[in-house]
């Protein structure tokens, strides 16, 4: 197990390097100039050139690239062009709402979607199955911002059950936090739930046809126990895989959801930084997301070994 972790961490280094290169090139080669943004509408060409020189944007691309890599290797992700705050500090300050939101979305998903999918498989072709599958089509096809605004319209504005927007830290006021989190997490979780419910259903459906499920019935297991104790653990590998892949979906969802509900999280930071062409912040965020993704993949690999003893690395 330790070897697996060490190996995966070692493998993350080249992955991150490739991500870093792409992030760097993507921003430099796309049109638009941060110096212009920073200098404002009234600045003359000299002022723009001065700002550009200050930021090192006038130097050759390769020099900029290696300089930047060197900084990163030393743990310095640069300073925001706009707010003059170190990028790491900026991300750290915005991390809590995003993590709380993402985690609650994942919890909602796993607690609701996995059982729903399993039951749909068990009651294959029944009305429960059709209902779950219909909901998952809806969850897939309606964009997060539409769902978000609809929820706000009906549950906040009309029914006045939840606050319209804003964030309260669960560490300061858990009850208010829960009320504030309910709609954003639901919005974020919906696509994810649709995906997981579908995968769980097809995976469990396949396992239910296996010989050992018949053996479990022949032992006198009631149907409920056959489903939870025998079928679901064997269907876990594809479900875990998709939960892992779904984290990517979640990252893009976080960006939209935080904008809709006006949460001061990393997602909002990303949008703001991109719109302002705040290069160091965008770069830092992309690396941060990539790192999270690599970390999640490592966790998934470890989870495989735990749920299926046949998997060994």
């Amino acid at each position: 197990m330790l070897r697996l972790i060490a190996l995966r961490v070692a493998m993350a280094v080249p992955v991150m390097l490739v991500v870093a290169t792409i992030v760097f090139l993507l921003l430099r080669l796309s049109p638009g100039d941060p110096a212009l943004v920073l200098a404002g509408d009234n600045a003359g060409p000299e002022a723009v050139a001065r700002i550009r020189a200050e930021m090192g944007l006038d130097r050759p691309l390769l020099v900029q690239y290696f300089g930047w890599l060197g900084e990163i290797a030393r743990g310095r992700f640069g300073i925001s062009i706009l707010s003059k705050v170190p990028v790491l500090a900026l991300i750290r300050d915005r991390l809590e709402p995003t993590l709380v939101l993402a985690l609650s979305a994942i919890v909602i998903t796993v607690v609701l979607a996995v059982p729903l999918g399993a039951i749909a498989a068990w009651r294959h072709n029944s009305w429960i199955d059709r209902g779950v599958m219909m909901l998952s089509v809806v969850g897939f096809s309606v964009p997060a911002f539409v769902i978000g605004y609809l929820l706000i319209l009906f549950l906040s504005v009309k029914a006045d059950l939840f606050p319209v927007q804003g964030y309260v830290s669960p560490f300061s006021d858990p009850v208010a936090a829960l009320r504030h989190l309910a709609l954003p997490s639901l919005t974020l979780a919906l696509v994810f739930m649709a995906l997981i419910a579908r995968v769980t259903r097809s995976s469990v459906l396949e396992v239910l046809g296996e010989d050992f499920v018949r053996t479990a019935r022949a032992k006198g297991n009631v149907e409920r126990r056959v489903l939870w104790r025998h079928a679901l653990p064997n269907a876990a590998v594809p479900i875990i895989t998709v939960i892992g892949l779904g984290i990517a979906l979640l990252i893009s969802g976080v960006v939209v959801t935080e904008s809709v509900f006006n949460l001061p999280g990393v997602g909002r930071l990303t949008i703001d930084a991109i719109l302002a062409r705040d290069y160091p912040v965008v770069q830092g965020l992309m690396l941060f997301f990539a790192l999270i993704y690599v970390g999640v993949n490592l966790l998934i690999d470890i989870a495989y070994v735990i749920v299926d003893p046949r998997i060994r690395y």
Partner: protein, 543 residues
Amino acid sequence: MNTSEPILRIENLSVALPAGLDRSHAVRDLSLDVHRRQIVCVVGESGSGKSVTASAVMRLLPEKVLRITGGTIRLEGEDVAAASPARICELRGNRMAMIFQEPLTALNPVMRIGDQIAEVMRIHRPQIAAESVEARVIELMGDVHLPDPAALRRVYPHQISGGQRQRVMIAMALALEPALIIADEPTTALDVTTQAQILRLFRELLTKHDSGVLMITHDFGVVADVADHVVVMRHGEVVERGEPEQVLSRPVHPYTRALIEAVPRFRFRYRPERLAAPEPVLVVEDLTLTYRSTSLLGRKRETRALDQVSFRLAPGETLGIVGESGSGKTSLAKTLLRFETPDSGRILFRGDDVAALSGCVLRDFRRHIQMIFQDPYKSLNPRRRIGQSLTEGPVHHGLSRADAVARARELMELVGLSPDALERFPHEFSGGQRQRICIARALAMQPSIIVADEAVSALDVSVQAQVLRLFEVLQRRIGFAMIFVTHDLRVASNICDRIAVMKRGRIVELGPAQAVFGQPQDDYTRELIAAVPGGVFEVAPAA
């Protein structure tokens, strides 16, 4: 309870098939009794309704597809067919238990075997303390002769052999000493020696636990060894029943006679001209193959799969490779096809060493040596038409499509199928037909050597006999050499010129079939021969 009352009494059982199939009932009007300390064998080929009968007793039939339309099934006097679902759950595993055919797939792969055995007790006797359950699991594992129960109960099914898994299944079935044990082909997937041990075990446990066994089988050898009463089924109906001695030696129904005749028995063919060929097509010298695996803690484990294996194969000859599972038979076959690269040793194909080939030279060599696999259901791509499967290889190796199709049509006729079948999909064929298709696919490459790995083991005896005959005819007409890997010595004796007996990666005995089976030199060979089911029955063949 009156001891003379049967444990299981099935009366006039009928199970309907969905409309539109070739017959209306999977089982029609079946009656049978199983008494205490009695083994009743239900014999028949696939489609005879024997497994449906077994599942009906356990109420494990998919009820949307197969419905019980008539008759009663009484377990210790209680009508199973009319019991509520809750009552059925109480009975299953408790008063009646089932042992399934496939030990590979019938155990939950992600649950420790000790837990799987304990589960039966936890379901039906939740009041028993955990320590007593544990002690009972160890006792049961000892009963079925599993080695080192205390340690073995913590492993997962994939970590033990097929024979051991079947013992786990049996331990599970015996856990609560049920009155009735239903065994559906319990030994079909096992080696002869394991099979003999398990059949002995059945007998032993039957007396110990005072239960009755309903055994489903297609093997008359097994019947001769263990049955107290035989029921022969065909197309869902009983065609003959009686004491095994009477049914085996004086079968009345022509179907029973045909089945008994199809049972492979030792029969040798002598073709000295095959062995006298001057130039061998394949020479294997000192082939060694080691599997290495590293455990989680970094501990390395080495398994010697092939240990200094040497033999030569003459053109047109059939060499049988026999031995138990784990003896290296399949590793040898894989290495000859170069799916595995040997550690050392040479494989000389027409004088050229192919042991170290790679890339396109290796691809080109593979054309000359083709493999036929055990499972005809899994070795054909279900989404491709037969014609595609048959022409893909030849086209890849440079034949024009029209020529490849012409050759495929010819081959289909050669293996006894209609050339029109090329347009159809694998699921439209029976197991025997699919194996014929696999043979045609191998022959499409015009190979010099065919490696058949347990090619007839998954087939019914009568189909088995047909396929063996087909191999013989084809070999005479086309003249390929064959390496025939099998665990069934009787099958091997029918088709092989020479036999190599393998044990733990080594060839322990190699010689003409008749000599190896007639006057075995090695103890292990003698052991294998003694374990062949129905040994006694062989002495007095029915014909």
